[in-house]
Every structure is written in structure tokens, then in C-alpha cells.
């Protein structure tokens, strides 16, 4: 279970006079249950990646908290990370290592023995249908092969929670289908808590049990696809999303300005 409460993060860009602050995350709340796939849906720059990086312990929030199975990430990042698998936007494989070596390396970093990590790599390769890839160097892998390897690497320590940042970026139809299938199986067979961010409606419609709509660093709405459609009064989810994320944009802006003005 991953819980994000009243999360805020502000970045300072530039230096000296040119410096300006950007509220990347300005009050995001959501809860991702076990045995469910939760989608963070929002336009580019909505604060999805920053939120997921805070959950992965890469960024410390200015206010609010992210909790993984009740462990506050900022307080005990290593305990939280031991219970989380992270597939970041940049797949970041080591091109001179084979897929197997990439996976085993992360297993070792998670404190697994060499044998256990190797066995796990085999099991994951079977599950993700990538056994022939294992002993090839990742240099020259296709996007789909990269994604599978990175996913196996994120799952090597069998974490109960899995977060994925824009996992379908750059994938073709078959690779996207394979990923969807794998995520469903992880949910149904192993009861994992899966969170992924995306800006693609179809992904969310096909996969998510729960959708969190994020815009301008804030949680705008959450619920199942049907519930969100009902709330927006639209039959088409894309229409619902536009209405929820951008519909009251003027109001949002006014609110934001009031908030900024209120601060010292």
C-alpha cells in the first residue's frame, strides 16, 4: 500500500535574480491499495514524476509525506525502498552487461545472495517471456526488450509495491500489450500494489482499477473510470479527463494566485 498525503515540493530554477520558484507538487493526495492498479493520469508537467520520485526516496518533500506500507519514506528510505520496486522514466540499463547481470546486480544491492538473485532472474525471465534475452548484452536491445529487463530488475527483490513512471513510453503495440498482461498478472496472482503514471487515456481505461487525475501539482479527482465519467457527466473518458483536468482551469489559476499572495 502506498499513501501520499498533502505532498508539496517547490523547485528553484536558475540563480540570483533570474531565480524563479516552480511548484512542481502543490498538495497531492492519493492512496494505492494492494492488489490494485492505480494510475496517475495528468498532462505533461503535472507533477507525476516528481511525486513518484518522492515515493522512491530520490527527492525529499517540502511538506506532507509518502508512506509505503506505513513506513514514511523520508524518515526511513531504505526500509521503504526494500518494499518497493521502481521502474523509472529512464530505463537506465548498463549496456555492457547482459540482461541477467543487470538483474542480478540489483538483487545483490537489495541484499540477496548471488544464488537467490540468479534464481530470481530466471523466474522473472520466464514470467516476462524474456528468457532468450538473458545472456545478451543490453546494448542494442529494442525499447520493449529494455522495458522487460528494467521491469525484471525492479521486481528482483519481489517487492509488494511497484511504481512505474510512464512505462509505455516508446513501446510498440505488442510490447505495450505484454506489459499490460504482466502488470495484470502481478496484481491478480501476487496481489501487488501497482502505481503507474501516464498521460495516455487508453492505458488507464484498459488497466486501472483506480485513477488519480493530477493537474498543476494537485490531485483533481480520483476514483474508478466509471466513477470519474459519472462525476464529469461524460460517457467518453477522454472528455471526462479534459473536463476534470482542464475544465475549471481559470478557477484553478485564481486559487493558485490567491495562495501565492497569501504566503509571506
Amino acid at each position: 500500500m502506498i499513501e501520499v498525503a498533502a505532498l508539496r515540493k517547490r523547485f528553484v530554477q536558475g540563480r540570483g535574480r533570474k531565480a524563479r520558484t516552480v511548484d512542481a507538487v502543490a498538495g497531492v493526495d492519493w492512496l494505492a491499495r494492494d492488489g490494485a492498479i492505480t494510475g496517475l493520469l495528468g498532462p505533461n508537467g503535472a507533477g507525476k514524476t516528481t511525486t513518484l520520485r518522492i515515493v522512491a526516496g530520490l527527492i525529499e518533500p517540502d511538506a506532507g509525506a509518502a508512506r509505503v506500507d506505513g513506513i514514511e519514506v523520508a524518515r526511513d528510505p531504505r526500509a521503504a525502498l526494500a518494499r518497493t520496486g521502481v521502474l523509472s522514466d529512464a530505463r537506465g540499463l548498463y549496456p555492457r552487461l547482459s540482461a541477467r547481470e543487470n538483474i542480478v546486480y540489483y538483487g545483490r544491492l537489495h541484499g540477496m545472495s548471488a544464488d537467490a538473485a540468479a534464481a530470481r532472474a530466471e523466474a522473472l525471465a520466464a514470467m516476462l517471456d524474456m528468457a532468450p534475452l538473458l545472456d545478451r548484452r543490453t546494448e542494442g536491445f529494442s525499447q520493449g526488450e529494455r522495458m522487460k529487463t528494467a521491469l525484471a530488475r525492479a521486481l528482483v527483490h519481489d517487492p509488494p509495491n511497484l511504481i512505474l513512471d510512464e512505462p509505455t513510453n516508446g513501446l510498440d503495440v505488442l510490447a505495450t500489450r505484454a506489459l499490460r498482461d504482466a502488470l495484470r498478472r502481478l496484481r491478480d496472482e501476487q496481489g501487488k500494489c501497482i502505481v503507474f503514471s501516464t498521460h495516455i487515456m487508453q492505458e488507464v481505461e484498459r488497466l486501472c482499477d483506480e485513477v488519480v487525475v493530477v493537474a498543476h501539482g494537485r490531485t483533481v479527482a480520483c476514483g474508478s473510470v466509471q466513477a470519474l465519467n459519472a462525476r464529469a457527466g461524460q460517457a467518453d473518458f477522454e472528455e471526462s479527463f479534459v473536463a476534470l483536468a482542464f475544465g475549471d482551469r481559470a478557477g484553478e489559476r485564481g486559487q493558485g494566485a490567491a495562495q501565492h499572495g497569501g504566503r509571506p
Binding site: 492488489g35 523509472s88 529512464a90 541484499g111 540477496m112 527483490h157 519481489d158 509488494p160 496481489g191 501487488k192
Partner: protein
């Protein structure tokens, strides 16, 4: 629905951190060794170039020696001075007429010996007791010819002395009256110290080898990792930042140290290739010297690894890191110049500056001097401080570097 529990519980404490450090070190080392093309280039350029230069110097010196042994002299106007030619031949020198365009040949370094120009009225003026003028022509831009100038001038002085003595003897004066004192040359520098002059460039090559050995690995584990986007997932592991940084440093330092060892040892067979016997006798680089070199170089390899990592971690791409690392490369390659340019020779403070201290101590090793335990401890300490500072900076920057 069953809920998976993590099969791996990260071990806390010193033991777990140490194991993670080894894991990172092992992976980075494997990664660096798989980068065959870079590795081969580094090995070729850093390990082979030192002995190669040594062989080139030896070829040059043996050429000079051969010409000295040949005892030949070029005269422009041999026929004008039979007495001088007679004297030179008695000194067992072969006298040859210079080619017609000797001036041009000297300027273009085609002539390897200076030329003595004899005026047509040489014998006549000599007979009248007027001192005829003889020119010794070389070119300071022509290194081979200018090195022979001193020898030729000394030879002509010998003729002067002989003539003077003969004239005095005719007048019944003892030749001893001409010599108020006797002058003998004695060189205080031991053979090893003389060799160190020639071999003075060896520390430079070894230093460069260590630097370039560390450069690629240091950049690859920091800026390269950022460029590939693999730093972010790496830090989403429960490994401590200290373990990651120490592991990476360990791998980079190992590669740099390996290059240091190989380049030091390459001088051992390198000196068998020395053509000149004098140089071979003077440049003594045995196991003892190699061990002395390594004692001062290995700590430096560690410090340079940390320094380069600290410079590179701020760079988003490998290319940017290469540009930034140029500052370090330049600073390290300039240090041997400080000892060369400073008029006062080696200063006490030199030993406090990494790279400069190593060059100074390596020179001492080549001169056959023992290096003291204090000096070793001092360079070790400065390198250790530099290493810790560099790695602390890398650790501090690491998390921000992962996503910026």
C-alpha cells in the same frame, strides 16, 4: 489473494554496507573491463609510450656517440691549412672537405657536424705571426650540429696550445711557464644523477598514464551513469550512498592502479631496448625503482580517481564531463613543469602538493636517493585527504545528480 513479502531484507550495519560496496565495485570493474576499445587505447597510449620515448632518446644519444667515435671533422678550405690538417690528423681525426652548400645543409639540419671555415691566407698569416681567423659554424637550431661545437672548439684550442708551446720552446722558455695552474674536470654527479637528467621525463609519462587510466572509468561511473539514466534507478535501491560511492571509487582506483603498475613495469623491459650503452648504464630502472615509483603512485591513483569523479558528477553528459576534466588533466600535466621552471630546485612545500610531490619523489628514486618514511607518509596523507574530500562531494551531489 496472496500478498508477496520481500524475499530480500536489506541487511543493515557495517556488514551489509561492506557487501554492497563490494557488489558495486565488482560490477563497475566488470563494466570498465568490458569497455575493451577504451581500455586498449589507454593501455597502448599510456603503457607503451614511455618505453617508446626512452628508445627514441637512446637512438638520438647513440647517434651522437657514434659521431664522436667516428672522429671526423668538416673543413671548408682543407687545402688552405696543411699545418692544421696535420695537427688534426695526428689527433687521429679524419679531415674532410665540407660540401659546397654546407651553409644550407647546416640550416636544414642535413649536416650533423659543425663546419670549420679556413681563410685562403691561413698559412701565410700564420707564418707572419698574425693570428688568422678561423670560424666554427654551427646552428643552434640544428641540435645535432650544435652539440658537436664544443668538441670542435676544444680541438682547435689544442692546436693553439701546441703552436704556442712550440714557439716558446724555440725561444728557450719552458712550456710549464705557460701553465700557471693545471685544470682538471671532475663531475660530482653520480652516474645515477646524470641519468636522472635524461630520465627526467619518465615521471611525467608515468603520471600521465595514471591520470588517463583513471579518467575514462571515473567519467563513466559518474557522468556516464547520468547520461544513460541509470543513476536514478540505482539510487532507488536500498544501498547506502556511501556504499555506492566507495564501490565506484574502488573500481576506478583499481583501474588507475592497474595502469600505474603496468606502466611502471613497462620500463623494465623498456631499458633492454636502449641502444646506447652509456644511456643503458646511466638509466637504471630495476625492481627497486619500480617499487619506489609504485609506493608514491598508488595513493595518487586513488586521489585522482576521487578528484575526477567529483568533477564529473556535476556533468550531465560524458562529453561535458570530459570538458570539465580537462582542468584536472591540465593541472596534473603542468606540475612537472613547476620543478623544471623553478630556479631554486625542489622546495619543501612541493611535497605537500599531490602530483607535484609524486614527481619530486620519483625524481629522487631515479637519482638513486632513498625516500624517507616521512615523505611517503606525507604524500599518503595528502592523497587520503583529497580522496575523502572528493568522495564526500560525490556522495553529497549523487542524489541531486540522479534526477537533475
Amino acid at each position: 489473494m496472496t500478498r508477496g513479502t520481500p524475499s530480500a531484507v536489506p541487511r543493515r550495519g557495517a556488514h551489509g554496507a561492506l557487501r554492497q560496496t563490494w557488489t558495486v565495485l565488482g560490477k563497475e570493474l566488470l563494466d570498465a573491463l568490458r569497455d575493451r576499445r577504451t581500455l586498449v587505447m589507454v593501455l597502448l597510449s599510456s603503457v607503451a609510450i614511455g618505453p617508446l620515448v626512452l628508445v627514441l632518446i637512446s637512438a638520438l644519444i647513440s647517434g651522437i656517440e657514434q659521431r664522436a667515435e667516428a672522429r671526423e671533422l668538416m673543413l671548408a678550405g682543407v687545402g688552405h691549412a696543411p699545418t692544421l690538417v696535420n695537427h688534426l690528423q695526428r689527433q687521429t681525426y679524419a679531415v674532410r672537405e665540407a660540401p659546397a652548400d654546407w651553409e644550407q645543409q647546416l640550416q636544414h639540419s642535413k649536416l650533423a657536424d659543425p663546419v670549420v671555415v679556413i681563410p685562403p691566407d691561413f698559412e701565410a698569416r700564420l707564418a707572419r705571426g698574425e693570428a688568422p681567423e678561423v670560424e666554427v659554424v654551427g646552428s643552434s637550431a640544428n641540435q645535432r650540429a650544435s652539440s658537436g661545437m664544443r668538441r670542435v672548439v676544444a680541438l682547435l684550442e689544442g692546436y693553439n696550445r701546441e703552436q704556442a708551446m712550440l714557439r716558446l720552446a724555440v725561444r728557450g722558455v719552458s712550456p710549464a711557464a705557460l701553465q700557471a695552474m693545471q685544470v682538471h674536470e671532475r663531475d660530482l654527479a653520480s652516474p645515477a644523477a646524470r641519468a636522472a637528467q635524461i630520465a627526467g621525463m619518465v615521471p611525467f609519462f608515468v603520471l600521465m598514464a595514471v591520470l588517463y587510466g583513471a579518467l575514462n572509468a571515473a567519467l563513466d561511473t559518474t557522468a556516464g551513469e547520468r547520461e544513460r539514466g541509470s543513476l536514478e534507478p540505482l539510487l532507488a535501491n536500498p544501498a547506502s550512498r556511501a556504499a555506492v560511492v566507495w564501490g565506484k571509487w574502488g573500481a576506478v582506483a583499481s583501474v588507475a592502479m592497474l595502469i600505474a603498475i603496468l606502466s611502471c613495469l613497462s620500463f623494465l623491459p623498456g631499458q633492454w631496448l636502449l641502444k646506447s650503452e652509456t644511456l643503458a648504464a646511466l638509466f637504471q630502472f630495476g625492481w627497486r625503482e619500480a617499487a619506489g615509483f609504485l609506493a608514491v603512485l598508488l595513493p595518487l591513483a586513488g586521489a585522482l580517481a576521487a578528484l575526477l569523479m567529483a568533477v564529473a558528477i556535476r556533468s550531465k553528459t560524458f562529453k561535458e564531463a570530459q570538458a570539465n576534466a580537462t582542468v584536472v588533466v591540465l593541472a596534473v600535466s603542468m606540475t612537472p613543469l613547476i620543478t623544471l621552471l623553478s630556479q631554486e630546485g625542489e622546495q619543501a612545500w612541493h611535497l605537500w602538493v599531490p602530483a607535484l610531490a609524486q614527481v619530486a619523489l620519483m625524481r629522487r628514486v631515479l637519482q638513486g636517493q632513498a625516500i624517507g618514511g616521512f615523505d611517503i607518509a606525507l604524500t599518503l596523507a595528502t592523497c587520503a585527504v583529497l580522496t575523502v574530500l572528493g568522495l564526500a562531494y560525490v556522495a553529497r551531489q549523487l542524489r541531486a545528480a540522479a534526477w537533475r
